[in-house]
């Protein structure tokens, strides 16, 4: 047996002996998870996804949309107040000159990372369960980057000079200073936003073509037709499309890792105790994925319930996402512990103080909210019954979102409030303007996401169909594909 299986090329006799032995041994057929349940066909997928866009606007959509739009005005109000009065209206004061604006920036940009992880990294890892959630997660990424971008833009103080961040000629004829991590951030975040839009858009082209061809009214035909670019499902197109998709996934993977690495450099490249640590890049990336998956589930579970997408976002999908939250949450917990260890092991008294102060100083309340939300609550996902209780999953994901905001608050504010000079120590509190501006971004995010749900295909239909058993070109469409069972293709030869 071992002789036969060890051979790479088998003679006909060996082949025959192998088949006989396998027939006798009856290896177990390891089932693959079924990603589209309920025995549905291709047509059902088309009708389900297009139906969301083509159906009548539901009442709940209007209610949520108007509520979100009202919420978004808070950001507008906060920003108008800021620009017309001056940055003094924010709670920033020495020594805490990075307050909620930076916290909110890191929070939102972190949210976005799960979208790219799902669309790029899970694509490279051939995790087929990504197909039903990747489009919405990518949309979430883009809208989160939009919300994130507002904060550093207005944090520059005189927002009308924000274009100086870009390497554009100006009347003083001076250029950006490329040694600054803040300048790297300009490039990282703008590249991230742009590439995310390109990836999202390219993935949507076949679905836009589908909506174009199904359109009954002229504006739909024009709108979807314009963006579908004349796509016609030709395999000579799919070939280039698939290659481009793979390449974009390959480009987005180092991109997403670099973005939060550079965001962490904003802190780590300074000399401040609590910021100046080498663990920051991996710790920030893990935290970003953690918070992003929390947001993906926060958004997808209600959509699943409202649109009846239970056959497309199955318990298996929820399990996978919960396990990623568990894994990244544990990584974040490990990073918190390691920060403390290094602060002690490094022997630097300032570093040691910074961490003792985080846990037991004036911001201890924030620190323990962070620990309980980020480290403790995701540990519940070890239990199957927790992962199977949709309400519980949703609530835990809410905690994850809250916890990750507090993580950024703890990092930003505690280190600044109690730095090297005790004489300048202070206590930072946000003002109403800070609160309004941040609160409103949830409205802005929701407005954009609701528009996406209403007008664009929520899931990539082509990718969903491709993972269904009926899509197998060799008819091995039983939904299981054993690893031990040899299947002889008479016609294939491309594996």
């Amino acid at each position: 047996m071992s002789h036969a299986t060890a051979e790479v090329t088998l003679t006909p006799e060996e082949q025959k002996a192998r088949s006989e032995l396998i027939a006798k041994a009856k290896p177990v057929d390891i089932p693959r998870p079924i990603l589209v349940t309920g025995g549905k066909d291709f047509h059902w997928v088309t009708e389900k996804i297009c139906g969301i866009v083509e159906g009548k606007t539901p009442l709940w959509w209007w209610i949520l949309f108007l509520t979100a739009a009202c919420m978004a005005t808070f950001t507008l109000f906060g920003l108008t107040w800021l620009v017309s009065t001056g940055v003094g209206v924010w709670g920033l004061a020495n020594p805490v000159n990075w307050g909620w604006a930076i916290v909110n920036f890191v929070f939102w940009i972190g949210i976005g990372h799960a979208g790219t992880l799902i669309s790029a990294i899970l694509c490279l890892l051939r995790q087929k369960w990504r197909t039903s959630i990747n489009r919405a997660a990518e949309a979430m990424t883009i809208f989160a980057v939009v919300c994130a971008g507002i904060f550093p833009l207005f944090h520059v103080g005189r927002v009308w000079f924000a274009w100086w961040l870009f390497p554009l000629p100006n009347s003083n004829w001076i250029w950006p200073q490329f040694r600054s991590p803040l300048e790297w951030d300009v490039f990282a975040v703008s590249t991230y936003g742009t590439v995310s839009v390109l990836f999202w858009y390219m993935g949507m082209i076949p679905d836009l073509a589908n909506l174009r061809d199904r359109a009954k009214v002229l504006w739909r035909k024009l709108f979807y037709g314009l963006f579908a670019m004349g796509w016609r499902n030709s395999n000579r197109h799919w070939r280039n499309y698939e290659m481009a998709y793979l390449l974009l996934a390959g480009l987005s993977t180092p991109l997403v890792l670099s973005v939060h690495t550079i965001v962490s450099f904003d802190f780590a490249a300074s000399n401040l105790p609590g910021w100046h640590t080498t663990i920051f890049p991996p710790y920030f990336v893990a935290g970003a994925i953690f918070s992003g998956f929390g947001m993906v589930l926060t958004l997808m579970l209600p959509l699943r319930a409202v649109y009846g997408l239970h056959n497309l976002i199955t318990q298996y999908h929820i399990d996978c996402m919960c396990k990623i939250i568990l894994a990244t949450g544990s990584m974040v917990g490990y990073a918190y512990a390691m920060e403390f260890f290094i602060a002690w092991y490094g022997g630097n008294p300032y570093e040691g103080f910074a961490f003792i102060n985080r846990a037991f100083g004036q911001y201890a309340w924030a620190y323990w909210i962070m620990i309980s939300c980020n480290v403790i609550s995701p540990q519940l996902f070890w239990f199957k019954w927790v992962r199977e209780n949709t309400w519980l999953v949703w609530i835990i994901c809410g905690f994850v979102n809250v916890g990750m905001w507090f993580e950024r608050f703890v990092i930003t504010v505690t280190s600044l409030a109690n730095d090297y000079l005790p004489s300048s120590w202070g206590y930072y509190s946000p003002t109403i303007v800070d609160i309004f501006t941040f609160f409103g971004t949830f409205g802005l995010f929701s407005v954009l996401f609701l528009l996406f749900v209403r007008f664009l295909p929520l899931m990539p239909m082509g990718e969903l169909k491709a993972v269904m058993p009926a899509a197998d070109a060799h008819g091995h469409g039983s939904g299981t594909q054993g690893q031990g069972v040899p299947h002889h293709d008479s016609e294939g030869g491309h594996h």
Partner: protein, 180 residues
């Protein structure tokens, strides 16, 4: 088959089962047709080889975009911080490839991504909003659950009767003539 069309563009055969369609595509390839194509609601795994198509050329666009981005990043950081307005920061060299590397890195990725999208459009000859095949009234089915095999009239081997018989023989469920 209805009336004889005035200006025939192609013959179109439909399939609803992936394995049958996949096998039929191989037969069209073996029959030596050149100007033919398949239309599928999703990318069918292995169909490129089955149709005898070579590897996509999109990666060349990606590479060129990436190379351009890297050079652009190198050039702007050198020109702006090292040449046009040298800044003394901490007694460090005016320019080195190390400190602006994140900028060069991000511009590489940005331009490689633009190159990729551009490559996809160029290689597919898109955008093209009018195409003879859109005249086929049931074209929408290719988005839904039906596979098409299309053999164009301009193919040297094309013969109205023989090609139609061939499509029937390889298992096409319906055969339609599409006029341009």
């Amino acid at each position: 088959m209805e009336h004889q069309p005035k200006a025939l563009y192609c013959l179109l055969g439909t399939f609803t089962k992936t394995p049958e369609f996949f096998e039929a595509a191989g037969k069209v390839r073996d029959a030596g047709y050149k100007k033919w194509d398949t239309f599928t609601p999703f990318p069918v795994h292995g169909l490129d080889a089955q149709m005898g198509m070579k590897r996509s050329k999109v990666p060349m666009f990606t590479f060129c975009g990436g190379l351009f981005g890297f050079c652009l990043g190198t050039l702007i950081t050198w020109y702006m911080n090292g040449w046009d307005y040298p800044l003394i920061v901490g007694g460090k060299p005016f320019w080195s490839p190390v400190f602006p590397f994140p900028v060069m890195y991000e511009l590489t990725i940005l331009n490689a991504a633009f190159g990729t999208l551009l490559g996809m459009f160029v290689m597919n000859m898109l955008p093209r909003h009018n195409h003879p095949l859109f005249n086929y009234p049931d074209f929408v089915r290719s988005n839904d659950d039906t596979f098409f095999i299309v053999i164009e009239k301009s193919d040297p081997k094309f013969n109205r009767e023989a090609t139609e018989a061939f499509l029937k023989e390889i298992g096409a469920e319906e055969i339609h003539a599409v006029e341009a």
